[in-house]
Amino acid sequence: MSILMQLVVSGMAVGMIYGVIAFGYQLTFATSKTLNFGQGEALMLGALVGLTAINFLIGQSLGTFWAYLLMLPIVLAFGALQGTVVEWLGVRQAIKTKSEAGWIMATIALGIIFKNVAENVWGRDALKFPSPLPEASLSFWGIRIQPMEIAIVIGAVGMMLAVEFFNRRTILGKAVVATANDRDAAGLMGIDTAKVITFSYALSSMTAAFAGVLVAPVTLTGATMGAVLGLKAFAVAIIGGLSSGLGVVVGGLILGVTETLTGYYISTGYKDVPGLVLLLLVLSLRPSGLFGKATIKKV
């Protein structure tokens, strides 16, 4: 029993990371019906920029904890800038010309370019990311948890709640929701919907970059870290539904936990299978996602 609980708890941290990246997919899909398929690369770039920043700050004889906190705003700003560039180069024109597939190829291409740039700047090796919290596990009722795993869950939930608060409480956030509801009608309200879409890309990459520096201390950092995370988070976004904030949290947790369970009880070689099976099941039985509302695309 305690082994099972241990596996569930361990799966939750990685599940929350999937959830927060999937949340990033939702942000742009809501306003523009497009996604950044380079979301994993946004995460990777955030983690590597964060690595350079934190090492610089530690070099200024700051403790790791304070260096990590000071690094966060740099990474968030970088993520926002990176998302803006993606929207600018890859998505804007496709939306304007109502291209159905242009943005798919463009965001994939940008993702590959970002990965190549990262390989040349930071090298091909996986790098260790300094942990701001003690790495020794804490023990609760016999279940061992790394402090950084707790920080991941808190950070991921905090990020999503912050965005939710912004959307519900501020007039700019309401303008984002209005654009997601009905772009033309939002324009009639005086909302510059093209700017809102750029903003949602900035916010989306910002959440990915944040997820990158959350997960980096418990994994390793490197140019290839984003691809698998981005793909799994995409599965989570499909499982949870592209319109439900709760859906991606639950979807992320389901995927994270099934992965650790499969890794332990079956084989680590099959770790990735159950999530993909779940994805196929959801797609065939409930295509709008576990929590999504069914929509019919009118042609």
Binding site: I171, L172, K174, A175, V177, A178, A180, N181, D182, D184, A185, A186, G187, L188, M189, G190, I191, D192, T193
Partner: protein, 240 residues
């Protein structure tokens, strides 16, 4: 206040508006009537920037607005209550109203007292007050129509475009909508009204324009149009 000259607009290769010239004087209510497909909604969409006109001039208070995006036109004080209501379904009624005042809340237009205006809308549309915390998507069709009109009014507009405010409503609610339009007219709000109920529209309007196949075929005093035999035969029917 609003002046349109030689407006031409198309959907793709299909020309919908051929040569529209019309004027909405300050403080007046102008009705645009015509059969389905005549181009009434397209005219309003071209004015508010939802559709870029091919040629022609549209001025609002002296500013040329033809071809500008909707959000910029809004800053000059043009509010559009669109066909099909288009309320923001996942937001509460109150937030829909606040979004109507978006240019005021973000500094693009004189701010005034937004909260007092929300209160004013609740007085004009008492049912919206009862529903103020409800999501707009859960309102009935009539309530959504009230909300769409109230949301447009929250701009403190120079000109208000109303597209088919009676569409799909029960007869009792149609009467209610027209009595509200009459009250807005008493408050000297400049309006351009597109309506399927031509008789009711000409009853409340100062001036009228008749649109046929993308051309203005007749215009003048609303009272005169009401008594015009051709208009009576084509649009007013026997029963109205």
């Amino acid at each position: 206040m609003l002046h349109i000259e030689n407006l031409v607009a198309s959907y793709g290769n299909v020309r919908v508006l051929h040569d529209i010239t019309l004027t909405v004087p300050k403080g007046k209510l102008v009705a645009l009537i015509g059969s389905n497909g005549a181009g009434k909604t397209t005219t309003l969409r071209a004015i508010s920037g939802m559709l870029a006109p091919e040629s022609g001039s549209i001025t609002l208070g002296g500013h040329e607005i033809a071809g500008l995006p909707s959000y910029e036109i809004t800053r000059f004080g043009l509010a559009h209550s669109p066909e099909g209501r288009r309320v923001f379904a996942t937001l509460p009624v109150r937030d829909n109203l606040l979004l109507g005042a978006y240019p005021r809340l973000t500094g693009a237009r004189a701010r005034g007292d937004v909260d007092a205006d929300v209160e004013r809308m609740f007085e004009l549309f008492p049912r919206l007050r009862e529903r103020s915390d409800q999501l707009a998507g859960t309102l009935s069709g009539g309530e959504q129509q009230m909300l769409a009109m109230a949301r447009a009014l929250m701009l403190n507009p120079e000109v208000l475009l109303l597209d088919e405010p009676s569409m799909g409503l029960a007869p009792r609610l149609v009467g209610e909508v027209f009595s509200i339009i009459a009250r807005l007219k008493e408050a000297n709000i400049t309006m351009l009204l597109v309506e399927q109920f031509a008789a009711a529209a000409l009853e409340v309007a100062d001036f009228g324009y008749v649109l046929e196949n993308g051309n203005i075929t007749l215009s003048g005093d609303a009272a005169m149009l009401r008594n015009d035999p051709a208009v009576r035969d084509a649009y007013l029917g026997g029963s109205h």
